[in-house]
């Protein structure tokens, strides 16, 4: 079902990107966690009071009581959503559509390897990248929290929270992958693969501002990932995660099936 030679080649292609994103995330996560300090929190809260709409738009709300609550407010609204999403967009497009667009898919398709195997391998490359990134984020958060504030972090809650984060990014990845499988032109693959998740994120920002704009939350899948709800162990939040995961499975499967059936003009 999977071609090892292709998997190795593509994972090599992911590594550079993963290292860059890991470095950026390391910077943000370590700085922000180190800012967890009652005194500084007051400063941040004063920002929130001064410009609540702007802070809310990027998911930063006050009332971060525990360390994890603080992390949810300042990491899970922007940084940990955007950077893995960028990874999904870049790799998702490169794994299928770029090869078809450039014609080098001919080399992969003109071999005794099933198209389903090609697509499945590429999907696994994308999923592996997302897994590595979320795994790294988790380890990083644990190291930063435990070294800076021993005993403050509830590890189980963090693991559950990041399980949810993983499902969210699996869904984002599946949208990029599906778009990459459908379109033979990088232009359209990127337009939909990047356009849909970014548009949804903008809707989420709108919804966070509140007021009438809050209705926007019914039109974005980001609503399904509800960190505060996950920590509070709300059943609605768990259902949201399951929906994200189910959606991802459906989109990945659909992408593989479409690539298997489609005409390749290469």
């Amino acid at each position: 079902m999977m071609n090892m030679a292709l998997y190795k080649r593509e994972m090599k292609g992911s590594i550079k990107l993963l290292i860059i994103f890991a470095a950026v995330i390391t910077l943000y996560v370590s700085v922000i966690i180190s800012m967890y300090d009652p005194e500084l929190m007051k400063t941040l809260d004063s920002f929130t009071e001064a410009m609540p709409e702007l802070m809310a738009a990027v998911g930063m709300t006050a009332n971060a009581a525990s360390l994890l609550g603080f992390m949810v407010s300042y990491l899970y609204g922007f940084i940990l959503l955007i950077f893995p999403m960028l990874f999904c967009i870049l790799r998702g497009n490169a794994l299928i559509a770029k090869y078809v667009d450039k014609g080098s898919m001919a080399l992969l398709a003109a071999a005794p390897v099933k198209r389903r195997t090609i697509a499945f391998t590429q999907m696994k490359v994308l999923v592996s990248g997302i897994l590595l990134l979320v795994f790294y984020i988790t380890i990083l958060e644990m190291i930063c929290a435990m070294s800076g504030f021993p005993g403050e972090l509830d590890v189980t809650e963090l693991l559950i929270l990041n399980g949810g984060l993983l499902c969210l990014h699996l869904l984002i990845g599946s949208i990029c992958f599906l778009s990459s499988c459908i379109f033979s032109d990088t232009k359209y693959s990127v337009a939909f693969g990047a356009g849909i998740p970014i548009f949804m994120y903008v809707l989420q920002m709108l919804a966070n501002v509140g007021g009438d704009a809050e209705k926007a939350k019914y039109f974005t899948f980001f609503t399904l990932f509800h960190p505060d709800g996950i920590i509070a162990k709300e059943s609605g939040a768990a259902a949201g995660i399951l929906v994200l995961l189910a959606g991802a499975v459906v989109f990945y499967t659909l992408g593989i099936m479409i690539f298997d059936k489609k005409d390749l003009h290469i």
Binding site: G103, S104, L107, V113, K261, H265
Partner: protein, 277 residues
Amino acid sequence: MNAMKIENLVRDYGGGKGVFDVSFHVDQGEAFGFLGPNGAGKTTTIRHLIGFLKPKSGSCTINGLDCWRERDKVQARLGYIPGEISFFEDISGAEFLKFIAQYRGIGSQTRKEDLLERFELDPKSKIKKMSKGMKQKLGIVAAFMHDPDILILDEPTSGLDPLMQNRFIDLVAEEKKQGKTILMSSHMFEEVERTCDRIGIIRTGRMVAVDAAAALRERHTRSYTVTLENESAAEAFAADFNGVRDGLKVTVTTKQSLEEIFMNYYGGEKHDEHGAV
């Protein structure tokens, strides 16, 4: 036995582009030349054969296997040189060949070395920096190194210098001797004439002629019989024009080259255009 069979293949791209009701076959161990001008439908036909396109109607089979539904089985025995080769630009030629060998699951490396030597290709440099000719050679090595039984070659000599074109023709001739089945599309009549048993000509998506290379030439042979005044004149005439003398009569035959035959078939295209205006 038919190694490749194309039956009533249709793929309409609109505007007169595509292939329409194309049928032909290539026998086991035969070399088939596939000729036609740009945009005639050669590559479209080939994309159906290698399982990239699903026939809108009609069918393609190789060794009895459906080229679309059983393409992975077909591919196991197939060597393919695309008309426009696009590689992974980020790696060197050697890395690329190593990747393809692992990807296809080829064990032996001896044939790869033979081919590299034959085409004097040093694969160490990055593919991005290679000339068109070098890339073409790399494509040839990649298509032949798993020793396939069936070769589908889409304008395989484009970008090669005359010396390398000859080496390629020699390689194809050797493969044919070993009983391989070959479909080769080309603009070069010479290479088709030298290697192929039969030739098919496609024009605006329709097969206009499929025949043995020899028969195709013969059909376009004309004889003229001239009666001369005396025997010495007849003898001189026969000697000058390479004719056959029978008493006072001398028969002279002219052969059209394959190129002229080719032009004959395309000549009609111009008339069509005039007719349309």
